[in-house]
């Protein structure tokens, strides 16, 4: 792998950019790997990366049925924050946020991490109390957040209307170290680093069956032949239920569509991320100038990667009330992703009933922010059989009643 640097750009400029090589190899499947990861999205690639970096396990394949980062990794609104309520959530999301800070240097790949700050608006008295509670919890967890008043919100976001008739802004939970990153670059950066460690990133390779003997996994069947493995990690978000079915167990997960849309590009007008959970809308401005808008989920199970039009209407209607200038914007693109939602709105990082099969799913509507932390923890779980970051997120918590209730922090908006 050639190192990317200012010097490399200058060197290539002098020779008409003929020296750039592929960022990652177009690998063909081998007969056997120590670890197979299903799903080359952010979480799957990060898991593979930390398996290699932290535990020296590099005989790894990452199988992807479509193209790299083409699922929810390329479909989210790129928001990064860690202001959750419960301690296990704060631990893994804050680990993740802190890994984002040095990701570009670690991967030698510019992921454009922009710690511009995230505000979650409190627009009802319930939300004021909820976010004050979260701010106190975050203080105990060592996550820097602050509850701010409406004047401070207006100062940070001049285009906001804090005196809306239905939902006036009563305050907000402010995390100054939150922000955004370029989602495609996160997947590409990890893929390049994995490939450099000798791992095989295999695209257009769909898993069609999971083979096991005596309750222990032996490999997978794919559209490109059988591949053997000692350990298997399933990291496929919305399609987890489908894979679990192949392995012979069920999951406490339902898959629904979550939508987002972007406007035409305009001049810089908002340099923080604003989330309004009461009205199901959130917005930030991309480096290209587009307003990136996220909305609510559909209420019913769905695998179509699109969503109901009336949800877009609801989201935009709410945003126009809070940001009147949005009414003048044309919307350019809309898309949907299939998110895997658990009963307590917290993820599952766990062993499974099949020995050697590990699952990482249930990130629901907020997986992007968790990519590096999730990969870090999942790699430890696969390599050592347990991780302090994943202990609370086991599948057994649903039977034992140890829920990690994040329905306030994670119910819809991310």
């Amino acid at each position: 792998m050639k190192k990317y640097s200012a010097f490399a750009i200058a060197r290539e400029a002098l020779r008409h950019h003929t020296g750039w090589t592929r960022a990652w190899r177009d690998a063909q499947p081998k007969k056997r790997y120590d670890v197979i990861i299903i799903g080359a999205g952010g979480h799957g690639l990060a898991t593979a990366y930390y398996l290699g970096k932290n535990f020296g396990i590099t005989n790894v394949a990452i199988l992807e049925k479509g193209w790299l980062g083409g699922g929810n990794t390329g479909r989210n609104t790129t928001i990064i924050r860690s202001n959750y309520l419960q301690d296990p959530s704060a631990a893994i999301y804050e680990k993740s946020r802190s890994l984002y800070e040095t990701m570009s240097q670690d991967l030698n790949y510019n992921v454009m991490f922009s710690p511009r700050g995230v505000i979650m608006l409190a627009q009802t008295h319930h939300e004021v109390r909820g976010y004050q509670r979260t701010a106190h919890a975050n203080a105990l967890q060592g996550v820097t957040t602050e509850f701010i008043g409406p004047e401070k919100v207006k100062e940070l976001v001049p285009i906001i209307n804090i005196n809306g008739p239905r939902y006036p802004v009563l305050g907000g939970l402010w995390q100054a170290r939150g922000g955004t990153a370029r989602h495609d670059a996160v997947a590409w950066g990890y893929a390049r680093a994995c490939s450099d460690m000798g791992m095989d990133v295999i695209q257009k390779c769909e898993v069609t069956g999971i083979r096991s003997e005596g309750g222990k996994v032996t490999g997978v069947s794919t559209n490109r032949g059988d591949i053997d493995c000692d350990k298997l990690g399933m990291v496929v978000a919305g399609h987890s239920g489908h894979l679990a079915d192949m392995a012979g167990f069920r999951l406490p997960i339902e898959s629904v569509a979550l939508q987002a849309l972007v406007s035409e590009p305009i001049k810089p007008c908002m340099d923080v991320v604003v989330m309004a959970n009461t009205v199901h809308g959130y917005m930030s401005q991309s480096d290209k100038g587009e307003m990136v808008i996220g909305g609510g989920t559909d209420g019913y199970n769905n695998y179509t990667q699109r969503g109901s039009f009336h949800h877009i209407e609801e989201t935009v209607r709410a945003l126009i009330e809070t940001f009147p200038m949005v009414s003048r914007l044309k919307m350019l693109r809309q898309w949907g992703g299939i998110v895997d939602v658990t009963g307590d709105r917290s993820p599952i990082l766990s062993k499974t009933p099949v020995d050697g099969v590990f699952i990482n799913c249930g990130w629901g509507t907020g997986g992007f922010k968790a990519i590096p932390g999730s990969g870090w923890a999942m790699a430890e779980l696969i390599a050592k059989g347990r991780s302090p970051l994943t202990d609370a997120f086991g599948l057994n918590r649903f039977q034992e009643g140890r829920f990690i209730d994040e329905s306030v922090a994670a119910g819809v908006a991310h």
Binding site: G241, H242, P252, G299
Partner: protein, 109 residues
Amino acid sequence: MLVLTCPNCGITAEETEFHAGGEAHLTRHGPGASDDDFEKYLFMRDNPKGVHFERWRHVYGCGKWFHAARDTMTLEIFGTYTAQTSTVPQDIIDKITDRRPDWQKSDAR
């Protein structure tokens, strides 16, 4: 936009008039049930790619619950039927097999 017919009042309307209520035909385990059964009832879901039996409520209409058979990959609705049943009616199964000859009904949970 889904278009559903409420079998209780007979009205056909867009999905905004209804509210989805999750998987249908779950066995309700209560006091005295094993932890396993109670977990299954509360949390475990089939979440299939394809034919899904689900509960809907006609919230901005007659207010009554009913069941629907729908494809989660294509959003095609095969039919709606009463909520006062623990099994899928034969005419709904016929409609599904008519459209999806390879479909097999999974075991009741």
